[in-house]
């Protein structure tokens, strides 16, 4: 018999709350996509010239003859993220290998806590480090006119992305069953052979997912990049050149822009571009991770 007493209501409420929590992510992501598309749509269908958007570097939305060339912003984001990955992929995969395969006992626990603490540093603090410590340091060491650029922002972003990549990569390495390692050792493999020929191939999907999530993190980071990149519309030809990221452009220009105008719409168009790119990166990471589970 179905008795509608207190326990029944508690049960139903709990069910409902958990269901709402479960689908909220979907609701939010769809809501955000609809919102940025709605704000950007008038611009995309109206004044936007796709050829200019992707091939011109002239981002002059407030000029008397406005031009909306986003090439330099796209290249800026890509170069900073790329540089960050060059630095952080070997660093964090190395760290994950050490924590998962070599470190034991206290060392391991301390390292794990430290890596997680590194992930908790707010991005504006990283930006501050880039601006006030790295900027004069880079100027002095390399004798360049300005220390704000791809190198500075890439280093900062690399350090920001490394903890997430390390944590996920370590989980992937730990997920390799010990039986694999034991079997390899039984066949006479050395420790390096176990890691390079057995553990890494077995966990490569997870490692790839870790790298992709790091890329996604780098792509979406705003404040630290805004402060450390120099925020200059420029196609970089050396690591010391200043660049400007898509995210930083939105952050710095949206505040004083007339709501609903072309400039407003163009910034939301940058938002749509960012959303699509990060969505694809995360989706790829997800599909790759699913690949492991099926095995």
């Amino acid at each position: 018999m179905d008795r509608r007493d207190l326990a029944w209501y508690v049960d139903k409420t709990a069910q409902w709350v958990i269901f709402a929590g479960g689908i909220s992510a979907i609701v939010f992501i769809v809501g955000i996509f609809i919102f940025i598309t709605k704000e950007g749509l008038d611009f995309v269908l109206g004044p936007l010239n796709l050829g200019e958007f992707f091939t011109s570097i002239a981002w002059r939305p407030t000029s008397n003859n406005p031009t909306y060339g986003a090439l330099a912003l796209i290249v800026g984001t890509a170069s900073v993220t790329g540089f960050a990955m060059l630095l952080s992929v070997p660093l964090s995969l190395g760290a994950a290998l050490f924590i998962a395969e070599f470190a034991t006992g206290k060392t391991r626990e301390v390292l794990k806590v430290l890596v997680e603490m590194l992930a908790a540093i707010p991005s504006v603090v990283w930006g501050f480090v880039g601006m006030s410590i790295m900027h004069p340091l880079i100027m002095r060491i390399f004798d360049v006119p300005l220390g704000l650029g791809v190198l500075n922002a890439g280093l900062i972003l690399g350090l920001m992305a490394a903890p997430i990549m390390t944590t996920i990569a370590e989980d992937a390495l730990k997920a390799v069953p010990d039986a694999y390692r034991e079997a390899a050792e039984a066949l006479g493999a050395t420790r390096w052979e176990v890691i390079f020929k057995v553990v890494i191939p077995a966990s490569r999907n997870g490692l790839l997912a870790a790298v992709l999530l790091g890329v996604g993190r780098g792509f979406g980071e705003t404040m630290a990049v805004l402060m450390a990149s120099g925020h200059a519309i420029n196609i970089p030809t050396s690591p010391f050149d200043s660049v400007r990221a898509l995210t930083a452009t939105i952050a710095s220009e949206l505040g004083d822009t007339v709501r609903g105008g072309d400039h407003w719409g163009s910034l939301f168009t940058l938002g749509i571009l960012l959303f699509v790119v990060t969505f694809v990166i995360n989706l790829t990471a997800d599909i790759v991770v699913r690949g492991i589970r099926k095995k």
Binding site: D143, P145, H231, S252
Partner: protein, 290 residues
């Protein structure tokens, strides 16, 4: 971040000041971030002049303030640029005749690193440095070697493209159809520009005179090749001899009445003008302050 502080300060002032004995008139004042410090200082000082009137100041940018004034949600709009024709039309269409007050001047200084030997620049030179197609990209093009700047490259420091400072500097130096060179470092605040120039020997920047520090140099500017070179000071901004000084505006919806009229009259009085002087901007007319 900055724009929240006045709000908090005002909320506190409003609560602390109202004793409930009489109904206080509230003047809503909104707009330019350049004018925000001054507007806030005026509001605070006016509280001691007329305790029956509270002035609520918020920032948000010149455009935001003007559209709020057109829509009737604020009494006074602050603006670091003149109202555009399109905005005046929009106001008239809404039955509002905007009245303009020039409440002071802001001299935009050109900032250089303190080791930079340049002491004088012409407007043409500044245009050649900042303007699209301008030939000057190295300090040696101006005939100087800057100590600490081994690469000789001029590092351009500018502002984000919707700031009033960016717009005014473009009008005054590059001309109506001029464009900035791409590749300048676009800072997000007047103070950020000065900070970066202070730390970078190769850099040149522009920003309000109010943001000057001891560690940057400000060359004098001459409007023509053979005209006098004028240093950016409050005095030269007041008498109009400094070529890159802009008026700061307040707009009311129609001729101000009652409390708003008293407030505007007080701002333009010597007492109000000494407040703007204290904040590092120039009064709209020569004013004796102690």
């Amino acid at each position: 971040m900055k724009r929240f502080f006045p709000l908090v300060a005002l909320a506190v002032a409003a609560c602390g000041g109202s004793d409930g004995r009489n109904q206080r008139a509230v003047i809503q004042n909104k707009g330019s971030d350049t004018l925000l410090n001054v507007a806030q200082a005026w509001a605070e000082a006016y509280a001691t002049v007329n305790a029956d009137v509270a002035v609520a100041v918020t920032g948000g940018g010149s455009g935001t303030g003007i559209s709020a004034m057109i829509n009737g949600t604020v009494d006074v709009a602050n603006s670091s640029r003149k109202m555009r024709d399109s905005e005046i039309e929009a106001a008239r269409a809404n039955g509002v005749e905007p009245i303009e007050f020039i409440v002071g001047y802001d001299a935009l200084a050109v900032y250089l690193h303190e080791d930079n030997p340049i002491e004088a620049l012409t407007v043409d030179q500044v245009r050649a440095i900042y303007g699209e197609g301008g030939p000057v990209t190295k300090w040696s093009d101006l005939g100087v070697a800057v100590p600490g700047c081994g690469s000789d490259e001029i590092v351009l420091v500018s502002r984000q493209n919707n700031s009033g400072t960016y717009v005014y500097f473009k009008e005054a130096v590059l001309g109506d159809d001029g464009e900035y060179k791409l590749g300048s470092r676009d800072m997000h605040g007047s103070k950020d520009v000065v900070d970066l120039v202070e730390n970078t020997p190769c850099a040149i920047g522009y920003s309000g005179l109010a943001y000057a520090t001891e560690h940057v140099s400000m060359p004098c500017i001459s409007s023509e090749e053979d005209s006098d070179c004028v240093s950016p000071t409050i005095a030269t901004a007041v008498d109009g001899s400094y070529p890159i000084a802009r008026p700061l505006f307040m707009y009311t919806a129609g001729e101000p009445q009652g409390a708003v009229k008293d407030y505007m009259d007080w701002i333009l009085s010597p007492a109000g003008q000494c407040v703007i002087l204290e904040r590092g901007y120039a009064p709209y007319t020569e004013t004796e302050c102690t």
